[in-house]
Amino acid sequence: MPKLSYRDALNQALREEMQRDENVILFGEDVAEYEGSFKVTRGLLKEFGPRRVFDTPISEAGIIGTAIGAAMAGLRPVAELMTVNFAYVAMDQLLNHLAVMRYMFGGQVTLPVTVRMPGGGGHQLGSQHSHSLEAIFVHTPGLLVLYPATPADAKALLKAAIRDDNPVIFLEHEGLYNFEDEVPDAIEPGAIGEAAVLREGSDVSLIAYGAMTHVAREAAQLLAGDGVSAEVVDLRTLRPWDKAAVAASVAKTHRAVVIEECPPACGIGAEVAANIQELAFDALDAPVERVSGADVPLPYARNLEQACIPHAPDVVKAARRALGATGNEHPQPVIRNP
């Protein structure tokens, strides 16, 4: 099977969907002539021309509103915001318009909009370029939220996003663009709402998404060295997310650690943990652990930034707490509250 980077897998998905459907158009900040700030749209202007691939002003609300209107009138726009932090500028269009319109207008509107946004920390980009906003989007009824961890999923899920008739928030991790892995030549659109078990295990479930999936895999490797069998579940889709797959994994391992890059309050970990106790309470041998991003804006300094992002040793520690938990030993949370 050929190897492909996450970046090129996304690029292929865009190219194939544009070839397939004349209604797919692509626009955003520097996506055309500059070929995307992370070069995900490389070659697309040349192949499809300025009618279908074009640059916009730095006007995030304008970009998202344009995508909404174009979708209302029958196109399938793919809009790119340069980083997920810029979505804050367009939150009214994203959460107050895109997400609500179908419902608010009694089902009369169909909005097949895909909004691509790179995000996540690790590149010393500071507090206004590094955040993880997935929980905000997951919190919003009317949106679908996808966050692939592997090149194969990046390609399959982006194809699914573009073909889906609902608004999709498509999150890409900046730290994964160069990550290479096998991608089948012909790949079908991924199933939205299906998690993947990337590693089978019997002692503890490590539940993650996006870049955190790789942290979980690394932790599973470390745990294996100590004779602990960890199962790695990659959620892949955050809204809707695969409750059945998580419950099934916990039913098998009886312990769960949720790893999220976003801060903990009302985050992905909180959502998954709450559901585990609702769906699989009897299966649990220990409280569900969360390993979260630090509860601060991302700082610039390399050491401080790294201290904000979950790493494999943090996950190993949390897994050990879950494994060692007894009735009289209350686990210390990993959440970095001040």
């Binding site: 998202i64 209107g69 209302m72 179908r102 419902y103 009694g106 009369q108």
Partner: protein, 319 residues
């Protein structure tokens, strides 16, 4: 214009005005909840702006949307039922007064975030241009929207891409309770648009149906020919407060009277009488027809029901 057309214009304005009178009554009776923003006084703006549109053109606007809906040819019964929150309303009771929507008239919605629909109009214009159609999209917003960021992003993009968008600014002189003079450094909405976004602008007496329709006709022609957007500032006035909850104490009685003397309905009637010597009976017949249509709309709304709670989750996603 032919007599028949003018009589239709008169009828539609009476229908829109009467709809608001009924909406106010039903609001006072507690049958309409939430916020209810009445269009009374501004009828000539929307009717004139919509007059030369085709059925396949698009219209989008603010939350003061009953007038757009009725004057575009929407069914008053479906609108009234929506205000009642009933299942046979145009949005199944999920939208309410501020969020009417109807594909039957290509009305793409009333939006309750000031200026929020302006970028959406850009997208509709983009789709028209992409498909090489000769349709247009007409976007209604108030003077308050011109102080919003999204509005400026939208005007810039529409001009930049030469999209078939017609911007109709209803300058009714107040953004809720704050006057234009107290909220906009540039008091001319037309100048504010023209100098920044390089598009043709007009300032029109929005209380005059004839002026509104003729200025908008030019803008529509220009858009259909692919020459890009135009901007129309309609100077107008709302007779009521911002919403039913607003007694409008920030305006003087004299000011309201000044504008009521320019009421678009008697003005249109006077022109028709002058040009065609129409007997009063003919107007009365239209008044009666409007009344009956609206009585029927209220009866339709009264007879309806809200969606049952078990249908709460419908329409969130496609099946």
């Amino acid at each position: 214009m032919r007599k028949d057309d003018l009589m239709r214009a008169y009828y539609l304005m009476q229908l829109a005005r009467g709809f608001e009178t009924r909406a106010a009554e039903q609001y006072t009776k507690g049958r309409i909840g939430g916020f209810c923003h009445l269009y009374s006084g501004e009828e000539a703006v929307a009717l004139g702006a919509l007059w030369h549109l085709r059925r396949d053109d698009y219209v989008i606007g603010s939350y003061r949307d009953h007038g757009y809906y009725i004057l575009r040819g929407g069914d008053p019964a479906k609108a009234m039922a929506e205000l009642f929150g009933h299942a046979d309303g145009c949005c199944k009771g999920k939208g309410g007064s501020m969020h009417l929507f109807d594909w039957d008239i290509n009305f793409l919605g009333g939006y309750a975030i000031v200026g929020g629909m302006c970028p959406i109009a850009v997208g509709v214009g983009l789709a028209i241009q992409y498909r090489k159609e000769d349709k247009v999209v007409l976007c209604f917003f108030g003077d308050g929207a011109t102080n919003q960021g999204a509005y400026h992003e939208a005007l810039n993009m529409a001009s930049l891409y030469k999209l078939p968008v017609i911007w109709v600014c209803e300058n009714n002189h107040y953004a809720i309770g704050t006057s234009v003079a107290r909220s906009s450094a540039q008091e001319s909405m037309a100048r504010k648009a023209r100098y920044a976004y390089d598009l043709p602008t007009s300032v029109v007496d929005g209380m005059d149906f004839f002026k509104m329709q003729s200025v908008t006709e030019r803008a529509i022609k220009r858009a259909r020919e692919g020459k890009g957007p135009s901007f129309i500032e309609a100077k107008c006035y709302r007779y009521r407060g911002h919403s039913m909850a607003d007694p409008a104490t920030y305006r003087s009685k004299e000011e309201v009277e000044f504008w009521k003397k320019r009421d678009p309905i008697p003005r249109l009637k006077a022109v028709i009488q002058h040009d065609f010597d129409v007997p009063d009976e003919e107007f009365k017949a239209l008044d009666r027809k409007a009344r009956e249509t609206l009585d029927a709309a209220v009866r339709f709304a009264e007879a309806g029901q809200e969606l049952p709670p078990e249908r709460l989750y419908e329409d969130l996603y496609t099946d």
